[in-house]
Each structure stands twice: as structure tokens, then as C-alpha cells.
């Protein structure tokens, strides 16, 4: 039944597109233009990154044959996408979270873009390209990226005569020193509801939640790389060196503003949020590379990032891919997205752009993106998303809530989440090793 209705939807899309094409080509005949198979087309594009309107406007100006109609997604618009694709009413291009790719691929919602954008590999950071490629096929074009660096309260560090930690061992020592200097001070917060922290630490440690081994998925939620991170967090929690507080809540921002949290090891897009929610702390923060496991390593972690995909059922895949290539790799487009709208790009050329490396007033004039850009290139290409990512993420949040309450350890949480992930994959009928 699902298949026949999908076929019906696909047929109606084809018919609709054919009609549209005839209409367009007849008008272009009138103007005496070219009559190739690729007549003028109009692509519908749903996205949320700031500045996309401006980039699209520039593209439309330069490409009369491939017009893009942009629609800004807000709030829960993302939830509409699966239904829209399944019913054949999806736009031609959609921005989505990178972690959603596998679940959409197994539901046959994404066009395999290997033959259109496969040669863009060298244009992107290793990690961001690894995230859009599964089993040799590319399903998306990376748009932005969120490498981690250590934002720290330089005033607090100075006041207590502390140096910025470069390894996780030093980090632990610093945490203890802070606590000794002032029992109200925490080196960081532990937020059960925000997996971004966790993912970034595991990623930095060359871990992943999922993997692909031949024609089977592997579940790596509780592998060695993750357990090392778990041990570190467990120590911080046991010694009361981190404040347990859910992120994004008013309570969290109150803690930040009260100055009880001294460091935030988080993504490149976070400084803007910090500025918006803790404006009074301007000039108190600085950015340094994330601490590493072993001295000398440069590995960095990363969290959420977004990509652009072309849903199945889209007629003009070649043109859409052409637009996406321009949008995410050309200097013209990146200047608009990075420079005026402070997107942190996944493209290497974007990382080099002058627009990115501007002094940040909130951070006392430091060029913070120097640190983040270097981190972006040092994120290991280890992370693999799986088809039940959203469920596993939700489960990990619930497990970590119990860790925050002292009801279980990080290691127990990971084992439970791994078991859950395995069951979910099996229930989808997929091979699991």
C-alpha cells in the first residue's frame, strides 16, 4: 500500500513537472532561447541558516535558467519533511541536521548524490565529508559545522592564578583547584538533556555511536573510546566538580550569568548564543583549543551540524546539485553566509576566508574563529550516524538524567543505551553486528 501510494505521488509529481516544463519551454521558444533538455527550472528550497535569502538572491540573479524559490523553515517545520517527501510534496532542496541522514536514507527519502557532488570531497573538512558519505555513497552536501573549543572565564582564571588546561588531566587538576579556591565554582556543567557535549568528547576520542561493517551496522555507543570519556566525566561528577543543570533552561543561563561555570567546551556556533544570553559577561571570556587526551595531540570534537539534501522525487537533480555546490563551496556564497551572517562553514575555502577571521568584541577582541577553524580541520573522521540516531539520542538523555541524579554511572548508562540501540536496529529489520 505504501509503495503504491508513493508511486502515485511520484507519478503526479512527474506529470506536474512535465506540465511545468512544457509551459516553460513554450515561453522560452517565444523568446528564441536555447531548447536543450535542461530548460529553465524553478527549485524550491527549505532552509533555516541566516542569510540564505541573500545567497539565493545572488544565485537567481546569475542563473536565470535555474531559479531558486527559498522558504524559511521555523520551529517544527523540520518535522513536516518526512511526510512531505513520502507524499511527493517535498521541496527540491532541504537543509537538515546531519544526524538525520541515515534514517532518511533507509526510508528512501534522499537522492544518492554521488555522481553529482562526489568530487567535492576535497572542498570540505575530512570530518564533515565523512558525515555525508555512507557505504561509498554521498547523500548530502555539508553546509555548516560545529567544531569544539574551550571557552573559559579568563577573569576567573586570572583571579585564582590558574593556567588554561591543555590536556584532560590538567583539566581535572584545574577543576579541583577551582573548587578549592571557591566551593561555588564549577569547571563546567553536566547537562543530561544536551548530548552535544557528549558527542563532541567521544568524537574527539575517535569514537562514534554507530559504524558500518560490511553489510551490517555496528553499535559503538559503549566502546572503549566512549568509556574513556565516561570515566573522565564520572570523576568530575563524583568529586562534585561539575554542576548538574539542564542546558538551554533559564536556570542554566542564570548559572552562567552568576559566574559559577568557568569553562564551556562547546561548538563554534555557541559564542553567538553566549553573547545573546550573557551580554553582561562581555570581555570576561576567552577561547583556547579543547584539552586533549595526550599532550601533543590536536584532535578536536564536534557536535551538531547541518547539511543540504535533495529529496527523492525531485526532477531536476542535476540543477539542484549545481546550486548546492555553488551555495556551499563558492567564495561568493560563503562570503554572504559566513561574513554577514556568521555561519561557521564546513567548506575549507570558507574556513580560510577573511570574513571568518574577524576580531570578536564579546571575547575582548580575540579572533576566536582562529581557534575554531583550526579545530575544524582537526576533527577526526570517525563519527558515523545511524538510522536510529534520534531514538538513541533520546535514550541517552534519559540515561544521563539518571546519572545526574546519582542513580547510575556513566558506564551503566552507556551499556543501557547500547543495548537499546541494538534492539532498535534489529526491530527495523537491519543487520547488526
Amino acid at each position: 500500500m505504501a509503495r503504491s501510494s508513493r508511486l502515485l505521488a511520484a507519478t503526479s509529481v512527474v506529470v506536474g513537472a512535465a506540465l511545468a516544463l512544457t509551459a516553460c519551454s513554450s515561453s522560452s521558444d517565444d523568446s528564441g532561447g536555447d531548447t536543450g533538455a535542461a530548460g529553465p527550472v524553478t527549485l524550491e528550497f527549505w532552509g533555516w541558516a541566516t542569510g540564505l535569502e541573500d545567497a539565493v538572491a545572488l544565485w537567481n540573479e546569475e542563473n536565470p535558467d535555474i531559479q531558486v524559490d527559498f522558504f524559511r523553515m521555523t520551529g517544527d517545520d523540520g518535522d513536516k519533511i518526512p511526510a512531505a517527501i513520502d507524499n511527493g510534496t517535498a521541496p527540491d532542496v532541504v537543509q537538515m541536521s546531519v544526524h538525520s541522514i541515515p534514517s532518511h536514507v533507509i526510508a528512501n527519502r534522499l537522492t544518492d548524490l554521488t555522481e553529482y557532488v562526489g568530487d567535492l570531497e576535497d572542498d570540505f573538512t575530512e570530518a564533515s565529508w565523512a558525515n555525508v558519505t555512507f557505504d561509498g555513497s554521498t547523500y548530502a552536501v555539508p553546509q555548516d559545522f560545529g567544531p569544539n573549543a574551550l571557552m573559559y572565564r579568563s577573569d576567573i582564571f586570572e583571579q585564582h592564578g590558574l593556567t588554561v588546561p591543555t590536556t584532560w588531566d590538567e583539566y581535572l587538576e584545574t577543576a579541583r583547584a577551582l573548587k578549592a579556591a571557591d566551593p561555588n565554582l564549577y569547571i563546567a556543567q553536566m547537562s543530561p538533556n544536551e548530548t552535544g557535549y557528549w558527542i563532541a568528547d567521544v568524537w574527539q576520542n575517535e569514537g562514534s555511536w554507530f559504524g558500518i561493517d560490511g553489510d551490517a551496522w555496528t553499535v559503538d555507543v559503549n566502546d572503549e573510546a566512549s568509556k574513556e570519556v565516561a570515566e573522565r566525566w564520572q570523576t568530575l561528577l563524583d568529586e562534585d566538580l561539575v554542576k548538574v543543570v539542564d542546558m538551554w533552561t533559564p536556570e542554566y543561563w542564570a548559572e552562567i550569568n552568576a559566574g559559577t561555570i568557568a569553562t564551556i567546551n562547546y561548538a563554534a556556533w555557541f559564542p553567538a548564543m553566549l553573547e545573546a544570553n550573557a551580554a553582561d559577561l562581555a570581555g570576561s571570556w576567552s577561547v583556547a583549543p579543547s584539552p586533549v587526551s595526550e599532550a601533543g595531540s590536536t584532535a578536536a570534537g564536534a557536535g551538531d551540524s547541518s547539511v543540504d539534501v535533495i529529496p527523492t522525487g525531485t526532477e531536476d537533480v542535476a540543477q539542484a546539485a549545481q546550486f548546492l555546490t555553488w551555495l556551499n563551496t563558492s567564495d561568493e556564497s560563503l562570503d554572504i553566509l559566513v561574513g554577514e551572517n556568521s555561519m561557521f562553514p564546513a567548506a575549507l575555502s570558507g574556513l580560510q576566508s577573511d570574513a571568518l577571521h574577524q576580531p570578536n568584541e564579546y571575547f575582548g577582541g580575540q579572533v576566536v574563529n582562529d581557534v575554531f577553524a583550526e579545530a575544524a580541520e582537526n576533527v577526526p573522521a570517525s563519527w558515523v550516524d545511524g538510522p536510529v540516531y534520534d531514538l538513541v539520542q533520546d535514550n541517552i538523555k534519559d540515561q544521563f538524567a539518571k546519572v545526574g541524579n546519582g542513580a547510575q554511572t556513566f558506564e551503566q548508562a552507556l551499556d543501557a543505551a547500547a543495548e537499546y540501540a541494538r534492539t532498535q536496529l534489529e526491530q527495523q529489520g537491519l543487520n547488526v553486528k
Partner: protein, 315 residues
């Protein structure tokens, strides 16, 4: 003359069936819009959910490059739903919540309604409006407001209690269910009060007068006359409250943003949402929804059965 009467006589029986037919058709015509909407928006989704609960999408290998095959799965989805710990635990939580929240809320609504019905309370409209007002606040907004009031550091309540040495934590795992119940009590006491109050208003005043002449106190009148007289309304509000409890979704979903102690499958409805939206498994979600529907159906029947037997015994 006679011919005229004859034609008149002849004409009447001829006209009558036509008029009668129109009258018989009229109710259906008036009902038609409702029936169509009912069929499309109530019956069809139920039928679709039941249908879809018997199928599964089967995939193989990595699941890439194929559409997956939709196959008949028998009761497999129901087995999965009932062996899903989170989903089943959600029912447990909701039952515990209902056992406390529903009596507390209805008790409060009843006491308020009785107070408003007696002459004890002045400025009735003002108080009635104040009690009813929270109902006008959308449940999501109510949960946001209370979520703010429950949070340490930002809540005047929590900080106030802390300053007098009482360290409360409204969002801790053991307490959060009752914090949710409090939001519901705040939201719906007023509307239940209004229903019970209007039932009280329809009780003939002579009965009260008779009671007063017999020397019954206000309390005695309330217990022996007013409450039994409004029993049908109490049953109705009780039934709606149970259904509301089992369908709880907005408040915990919203409060989840401020505390991780509400899990993704905290209530049965949230578990369904998790299975369909996050897990993309519409078939499993359908089976869960059918199970939830059946539980609510059975609970409703039990409540109605018990109340009917009680009413019969009274008579």
C-alpha cells in the same frame, strides 16, 4: 361543491407522503455535515490506525538502496508495544498520577462549587472568574509558566523557600510527577468547578428550603442532598478527568525542556510520539495508540458501570 371537496380530499393524501418523506429526510440532511466530518476525521483515522498496526516495514542489510517491504505482521506490533518497558511504565505512571490528581482536583472543584452555591462567598463572579481563568491558558503555556516557577535560581518560589531554609526541588525524579499534577490541577479545577456549579444551580431550591425547615446544617445539606443530586455531573467530570489523564502529553512534553527527569516515554502518548516521530515507526505507533485507546475505553466503561450501579442502588 362536492367536486371541490372531493378534489380537496383527494389532494391531501397525495401531498402527505411527499411532505412526510421530506420530514423524514430532513434530520439526515442536517446531520450529513457532521456525519461526513465524523467519518473523515474520526472513523477513518481509527480504521487506518488499526489497519496500519498489523503491518511492518521489513528491511535488510544496512537498509540502504531499497525501499523496504511492507508485510503483514499479525499481532507482532502489539507484542512489541506491550514488551516495550517505557510504554508500559508510562501507563503505571499515569495510573499513579490519576489516582492522586483526579480526586484532589475534583475534590477541590466540588468544594469550590459548593462554596459558590451557598451564600458564604461574596463577590462570586470575581472568584469564579479567577478560578476559571487558568483554563483559558493553553496547557503548553501553563507548563512553561510552572516550569519557570519550579526551577532553582530563577523561581521566586524556590528561592523564597530556600531563603527560609527549605531546600525543595520540584523537578527531582521523585517529585516531578506531582509537580506535573499540580499544573493540571491548576489548569482544570476551574472548568470542572463550573460544570459542578451549574449542576448545583439546577437543583430545585424548594428541596433546600425543606432541608432547612427540617433543621439540616449547610454541611448536612451539602453531603446528603447536593452531592447526591449532582452525581451525574460528578461522574461526567470524573470520566473526562480519567480520559484527560491517560492522554497527558502537552504538559510533560513542554516541561521536558526544563528538566531531563521527564523521559521521552514518560506518558503513553509521549511513547507513541517517540515511536512515530523519532523512530519513524508508524506501525508500532499505531499499535500503541490502539492499546491506549482500548485502555481508555475499558476505564470509561468501568467508571460508567460503577456509577450506574450506584445510582440504581440509591433508587
Amino acid at each position: 361543491m362536492t367536486t371541490a371537496t372531493a378534489t380537496a380530499v383527494r389532494r391531501t393524501p397525495r401531498r402527505r407522503p411527499r411532505a412526510g418523506g421530506g420530514q423524514r429526510r430532513a434530520p439526515y440532511l442536517f446531520l450529513a455535515p457532521f456525519l461526513v466530518l465524523f467519518a473523515v476525521f474520526t472513523m477513518a483515522p481509527i480504521v487506518l490506525a488499526v489497519y496500519s498496526s498489523f503491518f511492518q516495514t521489513r528491511r535488510s542489510g544496512l537498509g540502504f538502496g531499497g525501499e523496504g517491504e511492507v508485510v503483514f505482521a499479525g499481532l507482532d506490533n502489539y507484542v512489541r508495544a506491550l514488551s516495550n518497558d517505557g510504554f508500559v511504565a508510562g501507563f503505571g505512571r499515569m495510573l499513579g498520577y490519576g489516582v492522586v490528581q483526579v480526586p484532589v482536583m475534583l475534590g477541590l472543584a466540588l468544594v469550590l462549587a459548593l462554596l459558590f452555591d451557598t451564600a458564604l462567598v461574596r463577590w462570586k463572579p470575581f472568584f469564579q472568574l479567577s478560578v476559571f481563568m487558568p483554563y483559558a491558558v493553553p496547557s503548553v503555556v501553563a507548563a512553561l509558566i510552572w516550569g519557570f516557577l519550579y526551577q532553582p535560581r530563577v523561581s521566586p518560589i524556590v528561592e523564597g523557600l530556600r531563603s527560609v531554609g527549605w531546600d525543595v526541588s520540584f523537578l527531582s525524579p521523585d517529585v516531578v510527577l506531582w509537580s506535573l499534577a499540580n499544573v493540571a490541577v491548576w489548569s482544570v479545577t476551574g472548568v470542572n468547578m463550573v460544570i459542578l456549579f451549574s449542576a448545583l444551580q439546577s437543583v430545585p431550591r424548594e428541596i433546600y428550603e425543606a432541608a432547612r425547615i427540617d433543621g439540616a446544617s449547610e454541611l448536612r445539606t451539602a453531603l446528603s442532598i447536593k452531592i447526591p443530586m449532582i452525581m451525574p455531573s460528578l461522574t461526567l467530570t470524573f470520566l473526562f478527568s480519567i480520559i484527560g489523564t491517560m492522554q497527558l502529553f502537552n504538559e510533560p512534553m513542554t516541561m521536558r525542556a526544563v528538566t531531563s527527569n521527564i523521559s521521552g516515554d514518560y506518558t503513553p502518548n509521549m511513547a507513541i510520539f517517540q515511536a512515530t516521530t523519532l523512530g519513524g515507526d508508524v506501525n508500532l505507533g499505531s499499535a500503541m495508540a490502539v492499546v491506549l485507546g482500548l485502555v481508555i475505553f475499558v476505564l470509561s466503561l468501568v467508571v460508567q458501570g460503577v456509577s450506574r450501579r450506584r445510582n440504581g442502588a440509591d433508587r
